[in-house]
Symmetry: C2
Subunit: 217 residues, 2 copies
């Protein structure tokens, strides 16, 4: 029975991504999952219950589904940020622009009409932001002292969502690549400024960072 529930969530997840929430019919979910309607209504009395389960799945699988794949290959925290963005680029390419960001799609389709879904969509964004913010914090000694890691993470998410939307519409990677290159130039300028500012800092391999006191000087 637990497997049936899982198959239903996975089928709905993939169909919502490909077709959107409203355009996905119950019959397609049953067909794709191989479950019968009794099971469906047992686990998910309404279509919205299934939506909430899909959003919960995404929220709880950001590590296995997205981050670990990138982090296994890349150590540098700034490169990890762009590695995550590259993951969306690969998705767009491999799946021929049919898929975008699953959360972003549902955010625009449902955020007005489904308050419970909106809460889970926000939790998904918060998870993503926390991951990017942690990378910015890990690179903070290379960035200007007044860098706000949360704001830079939010800017990165903003660019990713906009870039995926444009790539889907244009059905090519040009707008995505152009926007990410501009974001990269923004990070590069911050890194160049950060290097300037950090020159009076302690030399490499200090036992403890003095950033706090530097920030307030």
């Amino acid at each position: 029975m637990a497997q049936t529930r899982e198959r239903l969530v996975e089928a709905a997840r993939d169909l919502f991504l490909l077709k959107g929430y409203h355009a996905t019919g119950i019959a397609q979910i049953l067909k794709t999952s191989g479950a019968n309607s009794g099971s469906l209504y047992h686990f998910f009395p309404t279509k919205e219950d299934l939506l909430l389960a899909v959003l919960t799945w995404y929220r709880d699988n950001i590590d296995e589904g997205l981050l670990q794949f990138v982090y296994a290959r890349i150590d540098d925290p700034i490169e990890r940020v762009f590695g995550v963005l590259d993951g969306y680029r690969q998705l767009l390419l491999i799946l021929e622009f049919e898929y975008g960001c699953p959360i972003g799609n549902l955010a625009l389709e449902l955020s007005n009409s489904h308050p419970a879904a909106r809460t889970l969509i926000r939790e998904n964004f918060e998870n993503w932001l926390a991951a990017i913010e942690a990378n910015v914090v890990a690179a903070q000694d290379r960035l200007p002292l007044d860098t706000d890691p949360r704001a830079l993470a939010l800017f990165t998410l903003t660019v990713m969502e906009g870039a995926v939307m444009l790539a889907k519409t244009y059905r090519n990677l040009d707008p995505f690549d152009s926007a990410v290159a501009q974001l990269r130039s923004h990070y590069d300028r911050l890194l160049a400024e950060g290097t300037e500012w950090s020159s009076p800092r302690p030399l490499p391999e200090p036992t403890e960072h003095q950033d706090e006191s530097i920030q307030h000087s």
Copy 2:
């Protein structure tokens, strides 16, 4: 009769924006427009025909519906760019985060399933990009020589679409304001660099710009 067609397009435009395309029913379009179903099917045999008319309306009304409102108040081309972004901020605020960018919403909901709509969505984005690009070109003597106006316009659109999506999801302006502030800091850095680079340029009020020859030097 022309008025009835117009009323149908306006009703559909507003309902698609508030509820999305799939979630809007024919009955609601008839009720909001005050038209009868005979007129509806006369002008728009299918719901998709109505969608295409709405996207055509947006495409042909970017000046009256968006730009002129901003340009009447603001002369500086860079401030015009941020004035256009501020227009979306006002929309989010006044309409309590129910509306976002009408084109972005339809882009994510329909770009896979409706190729004809996708073409018109792209034309809408192209109009918006041309307007922003014209402002960047108008400010080009204050920007670094290697600034690509099209790429900077595309980056601006990307940030706007992502920022509107996040504001709708969070139902507050914080993510929008934060992303636009980051974009502003990107423009500010370009303007600061541009001022540096432009110092060897001709003094104000040259009869003709020599940018071409400078670029190739």
